[in-house]
């Protein structure tokens, strides 16, 4: 077995090199459906961070007891149980939070990033690392959701954080960019989310390609420097 990844590596993977939305393209259904406004993006994102952290930890805790053949059904059962438990507990003990996030919790189950992380990471590492991985991947998902949500809301409705008063109790966050803006329906619809996500993925790829080219150039310069200098 290779050495287990360190915390830094896990965070970097979740947020950037293995970002679930931009690189792995996992969980597109909730990502596209619920990124219409910043507030709902934040709601789904937070619920995902919470659920992914818990499911990853639970799967990792059970990893030695799980046989190879039945691991997928076991993971699915564990994920369904943990997500349902989160919803029940939130409903009973944090009703105000449930009023805001409640609608998003059932959507989490449609996020295949949960099963992907359970299989690819949590089933091979200890619960603490798995929880950190869940947190990192969830956070990566949250950041992409916020970017999409912010752009779609600004272009589609001309507002920022509309509805923050109702969900977060922070009405001072609400902004209207252009009073009288009629809205741009395409950005509000999932079709527009597809376009925007494609642009984000393309931007990331371009940045990545430039960086790779730059580091290749500097390596070439270094190595040519090394070969030339002694002569």
């Amino acid at each position: 077995m290779t050495t287990p990844p360190d915390a830094r590596g896990i965070l970097e993977h979740g947020l950037w090199s293995g970002n679930p939305a931009l690189v792995q393209l996992l969980g597109l259904c909730p990502l596209l459906a619920v990124s219409g406004t910043l507030v709902s993006a934040l709601g789904l994102g937070l619920a995902t961070v919470l659920a992914l952290t818990c499911t990853n930890a639970a799967v990792a805790a059970l990893r030695r007891a799980t046989g190879r053949d039945v691991r997928i059904p076991v993971f699915i059962t564990v994920i369904a149980c943990v997500v349902t438990a989160i919803e029940l507990a939130m409903r009973a003990f944090l009703p105000a939070l449930h009023a805001g996030l409640g609608l998003f919790i059932p959507l989490i189950v449609t996020n295949c990033a949960l099963l992907a992380r359970a299989e690819a990471f949590a089933s091979r590492h200890d619960p603490a690392r798995a929880a950190l991985d869940g947190f990192a991947v969830g956070l990566g998902f949250l950041l992409v959701l916020l970017t999409l949500g912010g752009l779609r809301e600004a272009v589609g409705h001309g507002t920022v954080f509309a509805g923050a008063g109702a969900l977060l109790g922070l009405p001072q966050l609400e902004w209207t960019l252009l009073p009288g803006y009629r809205g741009f329906l395409l950005a509000s619809l999932p079709v527009g989310a597809f376009f925007l996500l494609a642009l984000l993925v393309a931007a990331r790829q371009r940045w990545q390609a430039r960086r790779a080219a730059a580091s290749a150039r500097s390596r070439r310069a270094e190595s040519s420097g090394e070969t030339e200098w002694p002569q």
Partner: protein, 225 residues
């Protein structure tokens, strides 16, 4: 026993154990929280109720209620609460719980307040699972869409215009969530028609009585002028 069989048995046992434990935890959690969840739901219903009450009501609206089963009018085969608001002995309004069964994602539970003249006092969404960011705009906590019903009645607009603007009606559709909007508009219209047809019986029934109505509203596009 062959090793393959043993492995399969072991896998099946693991899975059964995980399912049993998970099921147990969820059952326990539900039992633990059931009372609190019910209390929160009652609170929410009470708040919605208080917001819809007309002025000058002096009876205990919560106690003055009947259980009404009217599948074709109220959208569900389950008995729904109809509360009567009275002032100085006269009926001031009816607060009807109704269901819009044709939302985008399951039932939408509504509370419709109607005054004695048949004018809508207000509508509140008690429970729904519409898509966040699209259909959830029907919820008064997310947008003001639901307030457009206040002050309307069956004559304003005519029943055939109780639909979204896109279909020739008088009510705002929600961009990207016409299904949710249509479901709520239809449910409010049916509730008004129900009160028009059976309001007297609803008001006259003893508190706690159970009423059954098996008739149905006239079709929405019945060619009324």
């Amino acid at each position: 026993m062959a090793e393959v069989t043993r492995n399969a048995l072991r896998g099946a046992l693991t899975l059964a154990l995980v399912v049993a434990v998970g099921f147990g935890i969820l059952l326990g959690l539900r039992a633990l929280g059931a009372e609190r969840i019910a209390a929160h739901e009652r609170d929410a219903a009470r708040r919605a109720l208080a917001a819809l009450l007309p002025a000058g009501v002096d009876n205990d609206v919560e106690a003055d209620r009947v259980a009404v089963t009217a599948p074709a009018w109220l959208g569900t085969a389950a008995p729904m609460a109809v509360r009567r608001a009275r002032g100085a002995g006269a009926l001031r309004g009816l607060l009807v719980e109704a269901v819009a069964p044709d939302g985008y994602s399951g039932d939408i539970r509504l509370l419709v307040g109607v005054d004695a003249a048949g004018t809508v006092l207000g509508v509140r969404v008690l429970e729904h699972r519409e898509t966040p960011g699209l259909g959830d705009a029907i919820d008064g906590a997310r947008s003001g869409w639901i307030t457009q019903f206040a002050g309307r009645s069956l004559g304003d607009p005519a029943p055939s215009r109780w639909r979204v603007e896109r279909e020739g009606g008088d009510f705002d559709q929600l961009a990207g969530a016409t299904v949710s909007a249509r479901a709520v508009i239809d449910a409010v219209r049916r509730t008004l028609q129900f009160i028009e047809a059976h309001g007297a019986a609803l008001a006259a029934a003893e508190p706690g009585e159970r009423l059954h109505f098996s008739d149905a509203p006239p079709p929405a596009d019945g060619g009324m002028p």
